[in-house]
């Protein structure tokens, strides 16, 4: 009987608000319990102290930002009433400040009101030195954050900021409650265990139990702004095991409703999906598996000048013919299919998404052409004069050292590339380095990706959110890792072109989205045509959901659990 009444109310609601999907308007908690598996278990629920998706996504059930990205990458107001723009006056004329207005009537899960003071406090929390805030770069240009009234906050930037939606937007920088975190500022942040593991939030759920690295349980937040949501009364986010086991619990045993980050052999995954209890969902964000070409000379004889611009250019990896041949000899669709299955798309761009930024100028490399690669080398004077299968020119041999992190997919890719390059007369020596060393950034280790004591290396990088400005700035001259800056910086290929730097400076002054997109595409094309980077695969995110779960909208631009308030249990499996 009660179920019937719920259905009636739902129907009326559906007519009034016909924009909403009909099933999203059941009673709060009507769908019961939800089981989610994050096989890398969450260890903390404060995104300011941990930037790993394993921690920030479970935290997004509780903590919410002013605005976030929906599944198409569109900025959507969340705790804010609307998105500030130049047109509505939310962004100042000089692009140096942004004014956010909170939705009226918001409450924390403990029943107190959300005010502009909480927003100001959150910014202060991250900007206080010694707090170990991992999102500090989002606030790096912010000079002041002030509450204009109870619901309005103004952020002022040190320089014109054409894309001011960094701080307090997206899954990484949600709003914290001032009352709860007041004592956790600066060096105290690390020891506030109770606050960091059970933050008070505005989201659809609140934490009931937290066991670091094992399990988090949530219950519906009775103060949630939409009284009919969330659909589930309780949620468990369990951790542990590996990705294959996680896929099995959704696709084969049906114990779990949602399993996150299933980067497993696509053949195994497809076989499991035939199990019948769930299905695989995918979405594409910005991660690209790419080759980085060392444009400087890595030879050990140079000593301290190894892999620096002072040590001179690479003997042959700045020759456009060699770089072009290396790229066109690769069959990207085979690399994508073998390593990533449906979660990988061959790409020739370092900036393949969001769609407005995607260039189509480089698509020629999508088709493998070994003959043309050979011809390019031949024309440039690289010939195999001594018959050992490796081309030479002026005493230099086309022999490269190709390194990457230890990872089965990467080792398969290495082997594939080596065999193709052998066919066009380029010799490849493979090397694999433990990920914690390779990505570790220890200035004392010779094996880090920044030092790049090799000719070619491969890994994936991406940018959070949808704005590529910071990402494209990675390839300006000043971002080159050198001994002088302690090998910090992300310009791994040591690419340096004043024209590119000029475009980067122009991007920093351009506010209009279309102009920004045009600039970003040009910068992408410059990098691709210089051959500083050879993109291979546009990688997608893979998760699995139970057949009985509905309302899930897989999102690569924000938390995968961003719309969990709308999730419900279907009566009939879909």
């Amino acid at each position: 009987m009660t179920g019937n009444q719920g259905g009636m109310r739902c129907l009326t609601g559906g007519i009034v608000l016909s924009m909403l999907p009909a099933l999203a308007c059941a009673e709060q908690g009507a769908s019961g319990h939800l089981n989610i598996l994050y096989w890398q278990a969450p260890t903390i629920l404060n995104p300011y102290l941990s930037s790993g998706p394993k921690d920030i996504e479970p935290a997004s059930l509780v903590l919410e930002p002013l605005a976030r990205y929906d599944e198409t990458g569109t900025l959507t107001p969340w705790l804010a009433a609307d998105i500030p723009t130049l047109e509505n006056g939310g962004i100042s004329e000089g692009l140096t400040s942004i004014t956010w207005t909170l939705r009226p009537g918001l409450t924390w899960s403990d029943g107190t009101n959300v005010t502009a003071q909480d927003v100001v406090f959150t910014a202060k929390y991250c900007m206080t030195p010694d707090g170990g805030c991992q999102q500090a770069t989002k606030f790096s240009d912010v000079t002041s954050v002030e509450a204009l009234d109870d619901l309005t906050v103004r952020l002022t930037f040190a320089a014109p900021k054409p894309f001011p939606y960094g701080p307090l937007v997206g899954v990484e920088t949600p709003i914290l409650q001032k009352a709860q975190f007041e004592g956790c500022i600066g060096a105290n942040a690390q020891s506030c265990t109770a606050q960091n593991t059970a933050p008070i939030g505005t989201g659809p759920f609140r934490v009931t139990e937290f066991r670091a690295g094992d399990v988090v349980t949530f219950e519906a937040n009775p103060q949630y702004r939409d009284p009919d949501k969330p659909g589930f009364a309780t949620v468990t986010i369990k951790g542990g095991g590996d990705a294959i086991g996680a896929a099995r619990t959704v696709l084969e045993t049906g114990e779990m409703d949602y399993a996150w980050n299933l980067q497993v052999d696509p053949a195994i995954l497809d076989k499991m999906a035939a199990g019948g209890t769930g299905q695989i969902i995918r979405s594409f964000g910005t991660p690209v598996e790419r080759l980085m070409i060392n444009r400087t000379d890595p030879s050990p004889s140079l000593g301290d000048l190894r892999s620096t611009r002072d040590g001179g250019a690479h003997p042959f990896l700045t020759d456009p013919a060699v770089l072009g041949a290396l790229s066109i000899a690769i069959d990207r669709s085979v690399v994508a299919e073998l390593g990533y299955g449906a979660a990988g798309k061959p790409t020739c761009d370092i900036l393949p998404a969001p769609a407005i930024y995607a260039s189509s100028a480089n698509d020629a490399c999508l088709t493998q052409d070994l003959d043309r690669a050979r011809q390019m080398l031949e024309d440039a004077g690289w010939v195999d004069s001594d018959g050992d299968g490796v081309r030479e020119k002026d005493g230099g041999r086309l022999s490269v050292l190709f390194q990457t992190s230890t990872n089965p997919v990467r080792q398969d890719t290495q082997a594939l590339l080596k065999s193709w390059w052998a066919e066009i007369g380029i010799e490849t020596e493979l090397r694999q380095i433990d990920p914690s060393v390779f990505f570790g950034g220890d200035p004392g280790s010779p094996d880090t990706f920044q030092k790049f004591y090799a000719d070619i290396q491969m890994f994936t990088n991406f940018f959070p959110g949808t704005d590529p400005e910071a990402y494209l700035n990675n390839w300006t001259c000043k971002s080159i890792p050198t001994p002088a800056n302690n090998w910090l910086g992300f310009n791994i290929p040591r690419y340096c072109d004043p024209e590119y730097d000029a475009l980067a400076a122009q991007l920093a002054q351009t506010a209009d989205l279309k102009d920004r997109a045009a600039l970003a595409r040009r910068m992408n094309d410059m990098l691709m045509q210089a051959g500083a980077l050879i993109p291979l695969v546009h990688r997608g995110d893979v998760s699995a959901i139970s057949n009985t779960l509905q309302g899930v909208k897989m999102n690569s631009w924000d938390s995968e659990l961003w719309n969990i308030a709308d999730w419900t249990r279907a009566d009939e499996p879909r």
Partner: protein, 333 residues
């Protein structure tokens, strides 16, 4: 015996301090970076700040002494305060990845590890004892042949294979047991106890098979050796019943080497079962250690490794004392 125990205990102190230093140096000298697992979008300057925040800019000896102070002084004092109900705000050993006190993390993980790994040790011993006695009594008989086959399988099949095989058979195909261990489950009545038992069946079985195999092989070998001793022949010649000979004379003598094996297996209970815990998501101490190693969480790994060292030293001592009780010929004083 008492002075011997005291002497051994006193000797353990410098030994453990030396062990703690070795553990610290091993972890410290290994190429390891707690910020390595952060997304690449976190810029190097922020990483540098984070490392500083964790105290990594201090020299090695300062960090070692700080850990010693936190572990040997602050933690026991905090425990004392907690027992007496007082408030304490001394700096505790903090995990870098969870930003929580390491001791609290261990306390959270201990119950499931003790349940699963501890129970598997007991079950393993309960299976091993009769199997080994029967096998030794009828060497090369049918029971011995079957027992040898089973224990060899138990020894040689790795737990990551057996565990996954059991999941596929019993969770996926038959749907009898859950493949995920729910650590938040609380036993309050008969029904919840059966749920607890059901979720323990598979991990405990996998671990018991190995333990039973290990114990029964040692036990069998030791029994066989003893059965051919002169005093056994004497006992038989005196006309004792076979039961008396086996349980009164052979078993007690044969237990001596087995005590070493078992007592050194007990500290391993606390180390958890890294692979099996991972397969069934028991998330006990084994997975805690592995996660700590993977994320470069030095205080966590240091504290866990040191606690294992303490347990091993302690149980070695207990084994030596048990020798003295079992074997009248051994006198320490």
């Amino acid at each position: 015996m008492f002075t011997y125990t005291l002497r051994r205990l006193a000797f353990s102190v410098p030994l453990l301090i030396a062990i703690s230093l070795v553990i610290f140096l091993l972890i410290d000298l290994a190429p390891n970076d707690p910020t390595a697992n952060l997304p690449l979008s976190i810029p190097p300057e922020t990483r540098e700040e984070l490392r500083k925040g964790l105290g990594l800019d201090a020299p090695s000896h300062v960090r070692y002494l700080l850990w010693c102070k936190q572990f040997f002084v602050n933690e026991p004092l905090n425990l004392l305060d907690w027992v007496t109900g007082g408030e304490s705000d001394r700096l505790r050993v903090q995990s870098w990845s969870a930003h929580a006190p390491v001791v609290d993390l261990i306390a959270e993980r201990l119950p499931q590890t003790l349940w699963v790994v501890g129970l598997s040790l007991v079950i393993g011993a309960v299976i091993a004892l009769p199997l080994a006695i029967l096998s030794a009594r009828h060497q090369y008989g049918r029971i011995d042949q079957i027992g040898t086959f089973i224990t060899m399988v138990g020894f040689s099949v790795p737990s990551f294979f057996l565990g996954v095989l059991m999941i596929i058979v019993f969770s996926v195909k038959l749907g009898w047991f859950p493949s995920i261990y729910d650590t938040t489950h609380r036993v309050t009545d008969w029904h919840s106890l059966t749920i607890q038992l059901r979720q323990m069946v598979m991990p405990v079985t996998v671990l018991s098979v190995f333990n039973a195999a290990q114990f029964s092989r040692y036990m069998r070998a030791s029994m066989l050796e003893t059965l051919h001793k002169d005093f056994v022949r004497t006992a038989r010649a005196k006309g004792m019943t076979e039961r008396r000979v086996l349980f009164g004379h052979v078993l007690r003598h044969a237990m001596i080497p087995v005590v070493t094996v078992v007592s050194l297996a007990i500290p391993q209970v606390f180390a958890g079962a890294i692979v099996t815990e991972q397969v069934f998501r028991v998330n006990g101490l084994g997975t805690l250690l592995i996660a700590g190693i993977q994320s470069g969480d030095v205080p966590l790994v240091q504290t866990l490794a040191f606690l294992f060292a303490v347990l091993i030293v302690l149980f070695n001592l207990l084994a030596d004392i048990a020798y003295g009780l079992l074997d009248p010929r051994i006198r320490y004083d």
